[in-house]
């Protein structure tokens, strides 16, 4: 199913190469074009009835130009969803005109020619079955998932719905220093969001989902619906707890966002500005010796055995791609190894600012300078089961949801709304909500005293269950 040699859309490639030629002719000394094409489908079923169906395709072209002047370069970018000749001419002229008003920057510019490259092996990112599944079947999966959630318990009488989404995209990147690359990716996923009420009429919502690159790797709709129901019912009857310090256990979904802040703190852009609490700490101990954190843009899952079972189908991770937003090969970068900060994550610009080398983490939108983005980013699993982690706690909090924007990557200060379960004598006792958890990430990473063995990639980033000491819980 996976297409190792995707259908070449010669017209899109031709467009990219025309845009580059025109930019060079208009006065750019270097240029980079990105052409994007995508399709999306989504179906939402609510209370058994189709509520929304959406299906469309779109495309766009982006251009980045450079004008050299001595050792420095000026740069600007433009983008358009209109591929008419008139619009392409405006795209090129606009970029070159804009570039002339920007400043000369010795760190700006495309990567050096020898840095370009891409992973040659099939990364199993695109599966045609995502587009081939008839709409009626997709709707049926959404309906079954919601129905399973609603049938699970009498306290579930309402629902945000069940949905099924697919998308496919095709991206071409080309520059004037000789890089040409393209890839296609596919995605499909479904979920249910049941709403439960208690005897007082108080409502709670939660959800659960399955997502994959091929429909053959999606989980069973009933299993997902039941899990959504269980997660919703667990929240019923939640109450506040008193303000206190206590051990906090984070479910994998929340742990991955706390670990994700390690990527943000090691972001070369924040590092060179001294705007990260990791600035200047390369080679230093920034976390406990039990912590190893990796970014890997090359992961392909499955395929260990004969390939007969659907779990043996090889599929690229959600953060896998053959090259980054500047045309550098993706790779595996260890950010933190046994607590030592080993690498920053960089694109070409930030690497030059830091006198280092890009880690192949450039992310490129249609317009603007490249940013920095993760591939598949994760905390290495530990050996404890989640039950063992909880079982060790006399009185503490198990967090299953956080809310808010209270993470400060300059100082490491962390303060978020939270809900979850209270742990008493090693067991889940009752649900809690309307509380906050606070600390500082610098301390939190040093105080991870338990790491679960439950590392599962449900998205591009993942972490197992973790336990952190010393945080403040604020409540009643």
């Amino acid at each position: 199913m996976s297409q190792s040699a995707p259908v070449v859309s010669s017209d899109l490639k031709q467009l990219a190469s025309e845009v580059l030629a025109k930019a060079l002719k208009a006065g750019a000394t270097d240029a980079e074009a990105v052409v994007y094409e995508g399709d999306e489908f989504s179906a939402l079923v609510r209370l058994g009835q189709v509520e929304t169906l959406k299906e469309s395709g779109s495309r766009a072209v982006g251009l980045r130009v450079f004008i050299a002047s001595g050792n420095a370069q000026r740069t600007a970018s433009t983008s358009s969803s209109d591929f008419s000749a008139e619009s392409i001419a405006r795209l090129v002229e606009g970029a070159v005109t804009l570039a002339r008003i920007t400043s000369e920057d010795p760190f700006a510019g495309l990567p050096e020619a020898h840095e370009f490259g891409q992973i040659d092996e099939d990364q199993h990112l695109y599966f045609e079955d995502v587009n081939q599944m008839p709409p009626a079947e997709r709707i049926e999966i959404a309906r079954r998932t919601e129905a399973a959630a609603m049938a699970y318990d009498a306290r579930i009488q309402n629902s945000g719905g069940g949905d099924f989404d697919t998308s496919t995209s095709h991206k071409i990147l080309m520059n004037s220093r000789g890089f040409i690359g393209e890839y296609r990716r596919s995605y499909c996923g479904f979920s249910a969001a049941p709403i439960a009420h208690d005897e007082n009429g108080n409502m709670q919502r939660n959800y659960w989902y399955s997502s994959a690159r091929t429909t053959r790797k999606l989980e069973n709709p009933e299993a997902i619906g039941h899990e959504a129901a269980r997660r919703t019912l667990k929240r019923l009857g939640a109450r506040q707890v008193k303000t206190q310090k206590a051990p906090v256990v984070f479910s994998p979904e929340i742990a991955r966002s706390i670990i994700g802040n390690i990527f943000d703190a090691a972001n070369g852009d924040a590092i060179y500005r001294n705007a990260s609490f990791f600035s200047g700490l390369l080679g230093e101990q920034v976390a406990g010796e039990n912590i190893t954190v990796i970014d890997d843009g090359t992961i392909v899952f499955g395929g260990k055995d004969s390939g007969k079972d659907s779990s043996d189908i090889k599929t690229g991770g959600f953060g896998t791609r053959p090259f980054d937003g500047e045309g550098l090969p993706t790779r595996r970068t260890v950010l933190v190894e046994r607590g030592i900060l080993k690498n920053y994550v960089m694109n070409t610009y930030t690497a030059r600012k830091l006198n280092m080398h890009s880690t192949g983490n450039a992310s490129r939108g249609l317009a603007g300078n490249p940013g920095i983005g993760a591939g598949n980013f994760f905390l290495e699993a530990g050996t404890l089961t989640p039950d063992e982690i909880i079982g060790d706690i006399k009185s503490g909090l198990y967090v299953t949801e956080t809310m808010g924007f209270g993470v400060n990557l300059v100082t490491g200060d962390y303060s978020q709304g939270a809900s979850g379960m209270w742990i008493e004598n090693g067991e889940i006792a009752y649900p809690v909500e309307e509380i906050t958890i606070a600390g500082n990430l610098k301390d939190m990473y040093r105080n991870i005293v338990g790491i679960g063995n439950d590392l599962v990639f449900r998205g591009a980033s993942a972490a197992p269950t973790i336990r952190i000491e010393g945080m403040t819980i604020a409540g009643a």
């Binding site: 509520e51 469309s56 495309r59 008003i101 317009a367 809310m403 209270g406 309307e434």
Partner: protein, 488 residues
Amino acid sequence: MTIIPPDHKRYFIEKLGISERLMERCLGEALSAGGDYADLYFESVTSTSLGIDESLVKSASQGISVGCGIRVLSGERTGYAYTDDLSSDRLLRAARTAALIASGPAKELMSGFRQTSDAPSLYPVAGATSDAEIAAKLALIQRADKAARAYDSRITQVRAGFNDELRRILVAASDGTFASDTQPLARLNVFVIAKDGVNTARGSSGGGGRVTMDFFEDTRSQGDGDKSPEHYAREAARTAILQLGAIEAPAGEMPVVLGPGWPGVLLHEAVGHGLEADFNRKKTSAFAGLIGQKVASEKVTVVDNGLMPGRRGSINMDDEGNPTQETVLIENGILKGFLSDKLNSRLMGMPNTGSGRRESYHHIPMPRMTNTYMLNGDDMPEDIIKSVKRGLYAVNFGGGQVDITNGKFVFSASEAYLIEDGKVTRPVKGATLIGNGPEALKYVSMVGNDLALDEGIGTCGKAGQSVPVGVGMPTVKLDRMTVGGTGQ
């Protein structure tokens, strides 16, 4: 120079060659399988973004996005398709895709659109951006960069950005709606890092609205205070320097005084989202069924008002072509109404408040806020502070978030102080505040007479769609709220 064109529709008809005849054909195709209603949403957006960083102009970009979204409503069902190719073939194909939601005989189409003139304009409309204007925009952020650096030698990093867009929209619908608008939007942002020997801190500020550049030149425009780049730069720098000396925020339940302006994000999260009609029709909001009930102290009156000239959340019409209005959400503590659009007002038998908004032609419209704020009370702000023995005074916030089903909401303070014995004392670090929407405003015990709206940089996200909004309120005291610090 700003010119208000007599009719925004001309752009689509003359420039893009979309005839009324073609629009009628598309609507006919959209209703070819039945359906109660169909609409076409044409959109053309041009945007510019300029950034200065380390005193260098490091980024400059422009984008053009043109397309059409076609929607078909059939009972509670919505079919949607969009295209960025405005040829008649592609438009008709999108119409046929959207039509698949319905299953029945073709619907007879109305004959002709209601020829309405454009609504009175709440904002100026600029012409195409000229090179001279780009130079003037650059000058604004260069001034901001200079002013932030000059504020204090501890300011080590300054980034300033200017973003603006011009959005042209045209809605043609099977109910005869034929309406268009041209919406400018501009914002200036400043972000700084301050460092002393020990600590590092960040600060940010900015402003804007549906305005043209002269807004930022006027240092005392509309009596609303300084809008100059220097003002925003000094604000960002002041906040960062202040944070260098901030102590741990307190933890636990305590009285909280919110300053005027941006702290109105409390209303946006605590009640605004919960009052959007879609959640209430589906009974998935904690506010469902509470119309006519007391949901706040009698001192609290909250409105959503899309008619404020030049404001970031204002719109001459919504993205379904409905006129915008001022809607009372809470009056003297009693829940009065919801924010609604065509679909939800029809299904709920309630008035359409003109709140149907969408991020772009890629998106289905839904009920959204515009400018949401609390009306003035009688209390003097200084009396409100004086009344608190020990509590938190929060004057600026980052973002907020709400779970509309259980009503729990958070908002994160970026500038806050301790109140000790009726006096504002030491600055504290950022902290998240948490509360329960239908309960939190019952603890409002004092409301100031100093209503202010935010500076015009707010963006609201819902179901993956972002739209510009405004918030505001006077100084307000809540007798209790949970503050998520780490201190005593």
